[in-house]
C-alpha cells in the first residue's frame, strides 16, 4: 500500500473493523452474557429450585432412572454444580429385537429434568435459557449451523487481524493507557475511549479471539488432521479414547452405589467434581459406569474420564494424560469458556468482555465521527455514511434491547404456548430489527437518544416484569439468600443504568465544533 507500514495498518484496522463490527458486537454481547449461562438458565426457568450437591442429585437421578428406564442400553446424567438447580438426564432404550441400533438420544420421551435437591422431575417452561446466547455467539441463528460457525470464524479471524493491526497502528500504546480526554474535540474523546477499552483489556481481547478460533479449530482448520489421518474418526479415537461398548450379559446384578463411586472419583481427582455420568447396561452384571470430571475444575477444559465396574464400583481405567500440545489446546478452550473461574474471576471475565463490547462500539462510532467533519456537506451525508450511522445506532442499542426482549418474552409468553422457545428467540431478532428501523426513521441524535432510552428501559424493567409475573423478585431472593439471583437483578439494573447514562450523554452531545486552532501540546491524532 502507499504510505508507511503504520498507515496501511491503520487503513486495514479501520475497514476490517467496520465490515465485521456489527456482527462482532453481537458476538461480544452474547458471549459476555454466556459467562453467566447457568444463572441465565436459572432465571429463565423460574419453575426450578435451588442448586444442591452433586451427590444428592446423583441419588435422585439413579432412583428416577431405575424406576423409569431399568432396561435401558445406557443412562446419561449431567450433574448440577453449585450454579445449577437441575440434573439433566437422558437414556437410550435397549434395542428391540430386529432393530439395528438403539433409538437416538434426541427424543424428548427419553429425557428428564430433575430438581437437584429433591430428585423430583420438574418441567420448566419451554425455553432455550442461557443456551441461546451461548449458541448464537458462535453459530448465529436462522442459518444452518455450519454456515453460522463459518460466519463467526470469519469475523473472529478479522477480529484477530484488527487487534494485531490496531496494536501496530498504535505507537503510543503505553501513554494512551493513561489518556482520556472527555472534554476535548469529539473525535479525540471517542479515540481515547476506543483506545482505553481496547488497551486496558488487550491481553483479554487477544486471548479471547485466538482461543475462540481454537474452540472451532476442527471445523476451520482440518488440514493438519487430514495430513496425518486417512479418516477423521481415527483422529477422534486418538483424541478422545472411549471404552468399547459391551453387550448385556443377561445376568441381573444391582448397580453399584453411585454416590460412593462419585466419592471415589472425586478422591482420585484430589477433590475434583464429577460432572457427566454414563451408565451402560444398568442392572446387568456387565454394567460400566463412566464418570467425567467437571470441565471447570482446571484450566484445561477436559478433566478426563474414569471408568468403574458398574457392579462392584471398582475403578478400572482412567483416560490417559494428554501430551503438551493437546493439553495446550484444552487450556485454550478452558480459557475461552472461563468455567474454571471462581466468582471474582468470573466478574473480571465479564467486565473485560464488556470492555470488548465497548471497544467494538466506540470503534464503530469513531468511524462516523472521524468522517463527518471531512464530508463535503456534513448536514447531508452520502448514502454509505448514513447506512453505517444507522446500523451503528440500531445495533449498539439494538443488541442489548434484543437480549432484554428475549427475557421479557420468557416472562410474558403463555407457558403452554406452542413453539414458545423459538418465539423467545424471535423476540431477540424482532427487537433488534425494530431498533434498526427506528434508527433509520429518526434524525441521528434523536435516534441515539430514543433507541438507547428504549434499550435502557427494556433492561432495567426486567426485575419488575419478573416480580409481576412470577414468585421471583429481589425481596424473595434476598429473604432466601439466593445471591446469584439477587446479583442477576442488580446487574440488570446496573446495565440499564449504564444504557440510560449513554442516552443522557447522547442527548447532551454537540456535534463536533469547527476545529479550533491547534493547541501546541496536542499531538497529531493516530
Amino acid at each position: 500500500m502507499k504510505g508507511s507500514f503504520r498507515q496501511s495498518m491503520a487503513w486495514l484496522h479501520t475497514w476490517s473493523g467496520l465490515v465485521f463490527g456489527w456482527v462482532l458486537f453481537a458476538m461480544f454481547m452474547t458471549g459476555t452474557a454466556s459467562y453467566f449461562r447457568p444463572e441465565i438458565t436459572r432465571w429463565m426457568e423460574p419453575e426450578t429450585g435451588r442448586p444442591a450437591s452433586y451427590a444428592q442429585a446423583a441419588q435422585g437421578a439413579v432412583a428416577y432412572l431405575t424406576k423409569t428406564a431399568p432396561d435401558a442400553k445406557s443412562w446419561s446424567i449431567t450433574l448440577p454444580d453449585e450454579r445449577q438447580a437441575t440434573a439433566r438426564l437422558f437414556w437410550r432404550p435397549a434395542p428391540t429385537p430386529g432393530e439395528e441400533a438403539p433409538r437416538g438420544r434426541g427424543r424428548s420421551e427419553n429425557r428428564a429434568i430433575l430438581d437437584a435437591a429433591t430428585g423430583q422431575p420438574v418441567s420448566p417452561r419451554d425455553t432455550r435459557g442461557g443456551e441461546f446466547f451461548y449458541r448464537v455467539h458462535f453459530q448465529m441463528h436462522y442459518l444452518p449451523v455450519l454456515q453460522g460457525r463459518w460466519v463467526a470464524g470469519l469475523c473472529a479471524m478479522f477480529m484477530l487481524v484488527a487487534i494485531a493491526s490496531g496494536v501496530v497502528t498504535h505507537k503510543r500504546i503505553f501513554k494512551d493507557f493513561f489518556t482520556f480526554r472527555p472534554r476535548k474535540a469529539a473525535q479525540r474523546s471517542w479515540l481515547d475511549a476506543h483506545n482505553l477499552t481496547a488497551v486496558l483489556a488487550l491481553p483479554f481481547h487477544l486471548m479471547i479471539t485466538y482461543t475462540g478460533l481454537v474452540t472451532l479449530m476442527g471445523l476451520y482448520m482440518p488440514w493438519g488432521v487430514a495430513a496425518n489421518y486417512k479418516a477423521p474418526e481415527t483422529y477422534f479415537e486418538a483424541m478422545f479414547p472411549r471404552a468399547e461398548e459391551v453387550e448385556r450379559s443377561g445376568v441381573a446384578a444391582p448397580l453399584a452405589d453411585l454416590p460412593k463411586v462419585l466419592a471415589t472419583a472425586s478422591a482420585h481427582w484430589g477433590g475434583g467434581r464429577p460432572w457427566i455420568v454414563n451408565v451402560s447396561n444398568p442392572g446387568d452384571a456387565s454394567a460400566v459406569i463412566e464418570v467425567t470430571r467437571h470441565s471447570g475444575d482446571q484450566l484445561a477444559y477436559s478433566g478426563g474420564t474414569l471408568t468403574f465396574n458398574g457392579v462392584t464400583g471398582q475403578l478400572m481405567t482412567a483416560s490417559p494424560q494428554p501430551g503438551p500440545a493437546v493439553l495446550t489446546n484444552r487450556v485454550m478452550y478452558g480459557l475461552h469458556m472461563g468455567r474454571f473461574a471462581d466468582p471474582i474471576l468470573r466478574w473480571v471475565y465479564f467486565l473485560c468482555s464488556l470492555a470488548g463490547c465497548a471497544m467494538v462500539a466506540t470503534g464503530l462510532v469513531l468511524w462516523t465521527v472521524k468522517r463527518r467533519s471531512q464530508l463535503p456537506d456534513p448536514e447531508r451525508p452520502h448514502f454509505g455514511f448514513r447506512l453505517v450511522e444507522r446500523l451503528n445506532i440500531g445495533t449498539i442499542a439494538g443488541v442489548p434491547a434484543g437480549m432484554a426482549a428475549m427475557l421479557w418474552a420468557n416472562r410474558l409468553l403463555p407457558v403452554g404456548m406452542a413453539g414458545r422457545a423459538e418465539w423467545e428467540v424471535h423476540a431477540f431478532f424482532i427487537a433488534w430489527g425494530a431498533m434498526i428501523a427506528w434508527a433509520c426513521a429518526r434524525p441521528t441524535r434523536r435516534a441515539w437518544v430514543e433507541t438507547l432510552s428504549a434499550s435502557a428501559f427494556l433492561v432495567a424493567a426486567l426485575p419488575l416484569v419478573s416480580a409481576a409475573t412470577t414468585s421471583r423478585n429481589l425481596v424473595s431472593h434476598l429473604m432466601t439468600s439466593d445471591w446469584a439471583m439477587v446479583a442477576f437483578d442488580l446487574t440488570l439494573l446496573a446495565l440499564g443504568g449504564a444504557l440510560a447514562f449513554c442516552a443522557l450523554k447522547a442527548g447532551a452531545y454537540r456535534t463536533a465544533p469547527k476545529p479550533r486552532r491547534r493547541n501546541r501540546t496536542e499531538e497529531a491524532p493516530a
Binding site: 500500500m1 502507499k2 504510505g3 507500514f5 498507515q7 496501511s8 495498518m9 491503520a10 487503513w11 486495514l12 479501520t14 479471524m157 478479522f158 484477530l160 487481524v161 494485531a164 493491526s165 501496530v168 485466538y210 478460533l213 481454537v214 479449530m217 476451520y220 482448520m221 488440514w223 493438519g224 488432521v225 487430514a226 495430513a227 496425518n228 489421518y229 486417512k230 481415527t234 483422529y235 486418538a238 483424541m239 501430551g323 503438551p324 500440545a325 493437546v326 495446550t328 489446546n329 485454550m332 471531512q374
Partner: protein, 103 residues
Amino acid sequence: MSGRAVRAPAWRRGADVAARTVAAIGLGYLLAALAAAALARWLPVPRLEATMTGSLISFAVFAAVAMWAFAAREAWRVWAYGCLVASGLAVLIWLSLLMEPRL
C-alpha cells in the same frame, strides 16, 4: 491510506484493494492450511501432538499473511511470494507423504 491524496485513478485503487483483500483471505487461508499440514507432518513429536501444534499455530499464520497483504508495497508481490511459499510447503507435505503414509 485514508485521507491521503493518492494519485492513481479510482478503478486502480479499487483493483488494488480487491487484490489485497482476496490475498488476505484466500492466500491467508491457503498458507495457514498448508503450514498446519506441513507442521503436522514434519514436527518430530507423536502424530497427534504434531497435528495439534500445527493446527493451533495456523491462525497466527493467517493473521500474519492478512497483515502482510495490506502492508506490502505492491499487491503482486504478495501473490508472487505467497504462491512461492505455498508451493514450497506443498512439496514438503508431498515428500513426507511419499516417505510415510497417513494413519
